[in-house]
Each structure stands twice: as structure tokens, then as C-alpha cells.
Symmetry: C2
Subunit: 121 residues, 2 copies
């Protein structure tokens, strides 16, 4: 693609707080690893460095995943959704994604949903 | 699990607007189909009806996916993340997930990310 990173980031609809939700997915197994938040600068770093950077809402700082833990996320692709307010980042996750030590951040808490009916073809 | 749906919903940390991000994933292929938003009532309906219901931020109303389009989402499971502010709902998607007619809402717009290095074992 010939558009610049600025042009690509300009297609994102950020929240009033200047953030966009970023779904992080293991590129080959398609596991959903975690959901994080990015501002325009975190997204720019993610798209240009090959490593995932978030904006930490709790710490109010940039957070390049794995710089402390070693559990880095190596970018394999990134896509924007149809209305521009969610990003899907496909990564090679090194080690566990979750700070609790589980593979994904969704491993621990089953919400015990009622299963819907089978689809009718 | 023996906890009630109220107890499960009480584990969710909603935003100041009363919403939680919901990642919708095809249960078997693990494709990420879309990201939507739920308030407590939309989550309750999703967990108890076997069909996915969102809160539409633009229309300010409940939106049971597929009631108009026929492209329903049949629940297969739902999980909460480690800090309680994102839900992963696994579904059987009937038809395309995206209102544009594509399989997922992430099909159209490649953000052309720089690929990170290969992981070192």
C-alpha cells in the first residue's frame, strides 16, 4: 500500500479519550490473547516497530508489551474494522500473554453462558 | 458453576459509560468477527438467551445481532479477561458478521504493519 502511516492512522476513530481498542491475536492459531488500548502514538509505534505498544490507562504511560516481562508480541499484521474503532493485531506471542502467567488473558474466568441452538443450514 | 448470572456480571468492570468491550469470535475457526459493546443488561441477555445482544452506542438501543439482517450469532461460550474489562464471546456466526457483507468486520482495511522479527526460541 502506498498510503503513509499518518494516512492510515487518520482512518481510525479514536474515543473522546483518544484511544482505540486493540484486540491481540496469535497469528497462526487465531487465539485471542488480550485486549489493550492504544492512542495514536502507541498505534504508530506498533505499526512501525514490529512490536506491540499499548497506552496503559491505569499507569497513564506507554507500555511496550514484554519490555519488563520478556513476553513480547512480535507483529505479523494489523487490520482496522469497518467503522474504524477497533484494531486487530496479529502477533507471535513469546511466552504467556497474561500477567497472571496464563497463555491468554481470557483463560481464567468462564462466564458460563447458555449455549444457543444449533444453526439451521 | 454455581454462581448466578448476577454474580458473574458483578465481576465485570464497566466503563464510566456502563459498557464493556465484547470481542466476538467464531468458536471453531477462532476468526475474530467483530468488536461490540455491551452494558450489563446486554451481557445478561447474551449469557442467558444463547444469542448475542449489544448496546448500540450510535443508536442508544439494544441490538440483538441478526434480528434485522438474519446474520445471527449463536453463543457457544463467553469468558471474562483477567482484569474484568473485556469479554470474549465465542459464537456460531450465521452468514457474514459485517454489515458490509464481508465475513468479518476486519476484512477490508489492512493497516500495513511492519512485520517484527522472528521469535528466538
Amino acid at each position: 500500500m502506498s498510503d503513509t502511516v499518518d494516512e492510515r492512522i487518520a482512518r481510525v476513530t479514536f474515543t473522546a479519550d483518544g484511544l482505540v481498542a486493540a484486540i491481540i491475536q496469535q497469528w497462526d492459531t487465531h487465539e485471542v490473547l488480550m485486549l489493550g488500548w492504544m492512542d495514536a502514538e502507541a498505534l504508530r509505534r506498533t505499526l512501525t516497530e514490529g512490536r506491540v505498544t499499548f497506552w496503559s490507562r491505569s499507569r497513564q504511560e506507554y507500555w511496550r508489551k514484554g519490555d519488563t516481562s520478556g513476553n513480547i508480541q512480535l507483529v505479523r499484521g494489523a487490520r482496522l474494522d469497518c467503522d474504524g474503532d477497533a484494531v486487530l493485531v496479529q502477533v507471535e506471542q513469546v511466552g504467556p500473554a497474561c500477567h497472571t502467567g496464563t497463555r491468554t488473558c481470557f483463560d481464567a474466568d468462564d462466564l458460563d453462558a447458555v449455549r444457543g441452538p444449533e444453526a439451521v443450514a
